[in-house]
Symmetry: C2
Subunit: 458 residues, 2 copies
């Protein structure tokens, strides 16, 4: 690694123990010390570094803010972490053409703030939006509550500049809303979890802020009824911008963590937001409210912006809050067709009951995306093994319901041993071929996505 000095100017990299420690883990909880951390400041530097890595067979792990929950940014042994903190410029805001150009290290919320004043927004809003970066969002195809109405990161990426493992720059996509010129390499890179190329610049679509938003809170004494309300609302042709579910355990954890005063004597709460023209949405708000009432939900409207923001702060604190109530939580992120949400919730409840392992469910119920949190204790071997068995059972249930084992967190390290439950050998063969095509030497974020060697592929 000494020759790194020849590749990068002083000060843009570190091999200090403290840095290696700080960049050795992500929100998955897995850690592994890298050999070095580099903070590139521009694309040319990244090209130089990748050439160096390519020639010397050094593994490079691109890293956003490390908020990923599947270990996508965790180092391999003897690897260099490439962190984008110094590439955080918003290069261009072009509202007249409805797009922006940013460096990968721009924090999602910073982009939101820059746009808000001009009356525009960038819809993807992962719960970690105050920390997570656009580069990481693109690599993981991040979602968030608003994905229900507005779609995921993939739907907003227009152009990418990226550096290939051999150090060459590739520019994909167009700055127009349409184009059919060769294969869609842009969307091949979106969600590729840093395994194909290092993203160095992103052009994102933005849209005008809707005039109004109304927030509904519906409290249910039955989780099943909450799930049925969700399915009915979508089935009746109402597309809220968000429809978030929190179960009893989640509500209690958030109250303890944030003291927001959520009711605790209920089994589930739905947080529904409908946006658009005031008159247009009034009818939808009524309909959605009536559907919830029909399933014995108690419905309240949060009129003021301030109280809405409090609700969202509470919602975004769910993940950290759950960490507080149990020594270990296994965080899964499954998604099913929205009509199957009640069955998924019921199935999870019975898995929890039969195993005696608590499961907390919350998430983006409106698009069928439920974050399943299996509460356990890593230090108690037997209980942890029991909990781990539940992961496979959760995925099996999800797939039987026509779902997918990862709605928005990606596969990374933690799910790679399960990927063959969803993808057959033909898919995996083609995907491995794509990986080889881009990364012949397997130096870019190796070991992510694909099942580790020695793991039986069904």
């Amino acid at each position: 690694m000494k020759s790194l000095v020849n590749v990068l100017a002083d000060g843009t990299y570190s091999m200090d123990k403290e840095d290696l420690l700080c960049y050795g883990y992500d929100a998955s909880g897995i850690d592994m010390s890298p050999s070095a951390v580099v903070w590139p400041t521009n694309t040319a530097q990244i090209c130089k570094l990748m050439q160096f890595a390519y020639q010397n067979d050094i593994k490079i792990i691109p890293r956003g803010a490390g908020t990923g929950l599947t270990g996508g940014a965790v180092p391999s042994a003897d690897s260099i972490i490439m962190s984008f903190e110094k590439m955080n410029r918003i290069i261009e805001v072009d509202t007249r053409n409805l797009n922006v150009v940013v460096e990968p290290g721009v924090i999602n919320a910073d982009l939101q703030r820059a746009l808000k004043d001009q009356g525009y927004f960038y819809p993807p809003d992962p719960a970690s939006l105050n920390i997570c970066t656009i580069g990481g969002n693109v690599a993981e195809n991040a979602g968030g509550p608003r994905a229900l109405k507005y779609g995921v990161t993939r739907d907003y990426v227009m152009q990418l500049e990226a550096v290939l493992p051999d150090g060459r720059v590739i520019r994909t996509g167009v700055q127009t809303k349409k184009s059919v010129v060769g294969y869609d390499l842009t969307r091949l890179l979106v969600g590729s979890e840093g395994t194909l190329a290092v993203i160095t610049k992103v052009r994102l679509k933005v849209i005008p802020v809707p005039d109004n938003v109304i927030t509904l809170l519906a409290a249910f004494s039955s989780l099943e009824h909450a799930g049925k309300s969700v399915a009915r609302i979508i089935g009746d042709g109402i597309i809220p911008r968000t429809m978030e579910l929190m179960d009893r355990m989640t509500l209690s954890a958030v109250n303890k963590y944030k003291n927001v005063g959520f009711p605790e004597d209920i089994d589930a709460m739905l947080l529904i937001e409908i946006d658009g023209n005031a008159k247009a949405i009034a009818a939808d708000v009524d309909k959605a409210g009536n559907i919830c009432s029909g399933f014995q939900g108690k419905v309240k409207i949060a009129e003021e912006a301030a109280s809405r923001e409090l609700l969202w702060e509470a919602r975004r604190s769910v993940s950290p809050a759950l960490y507080k109530i149990s020594p270990t939580k296994i965080n899964e992120d499954v998604v099913v067709p929205v009509t199957k949400v009640p069955e998924l919730l019921a199935g999870l409840q019975s898995l929890s009951e039969s195993s005696g392992v608590p499961i907390a469910c919350f998430g983006h119920a409106g698009d069928g995306n439920i974050h399943v949190n299996i509460m356990t204790d890593k230090s108690d071997k037997q209980s942890y093994e029991e909990a781990e068995k539940l992961v496979r059972k959760t995925f099996k249930l999800t797939l039987e319901l026509g779902g997918s084992i990862s709605g928005e967190h990606g596969i990374g390290l933690t799910k790679s041993k399960y990927i063959d439950m969803e993808l057959d050998s033909v898919n995996l063969e083609i995907m491995r071929g794509v990986k080889r095509l881009f990364d012949t030497k397997n130096i870019l974020n190796p070991g992510k996505i694909f099942p580790p060697a020695g793991v039986d592929v069904r």
Copy 2:
């Protein structure tokens, strides 16, 4: 080809001269006789046929309705055309989960009709929607007027079943709105123009029909003013569902062809549709109308459904109408950022004036997608050569304005020699790698997209 008999049951293929003639061309005007035409009725048959083709190095050309304008469905020498007329079932309409499953031969308008009664629609609406098929739409990533607000085919494809060149079935994507499980092979296949795999089944997202739609007609005595109105409307944060432009030559051609009574003493017309809640859109209609008036446009509102349908019939007849006023038309399909539409139109006008070759412009101005029709006569060598030079100049102008050389028609055969104007050698190298990965033997729609051998890559 005799052994085809062993592969397919009698009656599902033909080597009759009449059939070879009928399936030997598409809307690009290029023709070439295939060796046979097959009409598979199910996926298993396609697998058998592809295995046969793979073992015997026979070229297979998948074909929808042949409405493509770049020759994507034109046979190669000694190839078999695979036509999907007999695979035209709508397999499932699941409005509660907002999606449908169809076979590739389903006609776009048939799907629209099936959905309409239930209050849903499938947004992509190419002008050929009464003939063109979903399989072809997916292969070409088709757009249409409504793409302005609702996006293109890519944005609606959730799952694909396809047969690889070696005869194996691949199933990509998920039936949920989200998923991050490996690389996005679904969108890699969308827009791949039948060169990677044969699409055999498609799950498409559908959305509820908006409550209301208002149609505005704005007549301008200056093409530039029409272009500026388009840019201003989008820049002001109004997103109509369509914003179609027709220039003087286009209006006159349509009048001759359909006798719809479009005004002819004007230089351009905009056909704008704004949809949504009645009260919500009224404000946008006013704003859009005022912007057009501000550029001296004469604005009229088409209130009735019947008169609106007439307008759209007229709009959809533009392409055939233009064929009537000139022996040959070279049909291009460029797209620029919407703020650049006025510059593009002005540039095209000056190209036409300096060359003496008439150019008719129409298309989806709201998303910057202009169909550029260079009017010429193939039998007049000199005039045709002059016209062909304009193609390259049109693309050069488009790319200088930050645009793309194909908005929605693909590359096929007719644009393959220009693709390197837009894509650099790194992009082409990776794309060729993708082609080789899927189609090692180059038997699936060979010769499409990529520059022909012997053509200088810049």
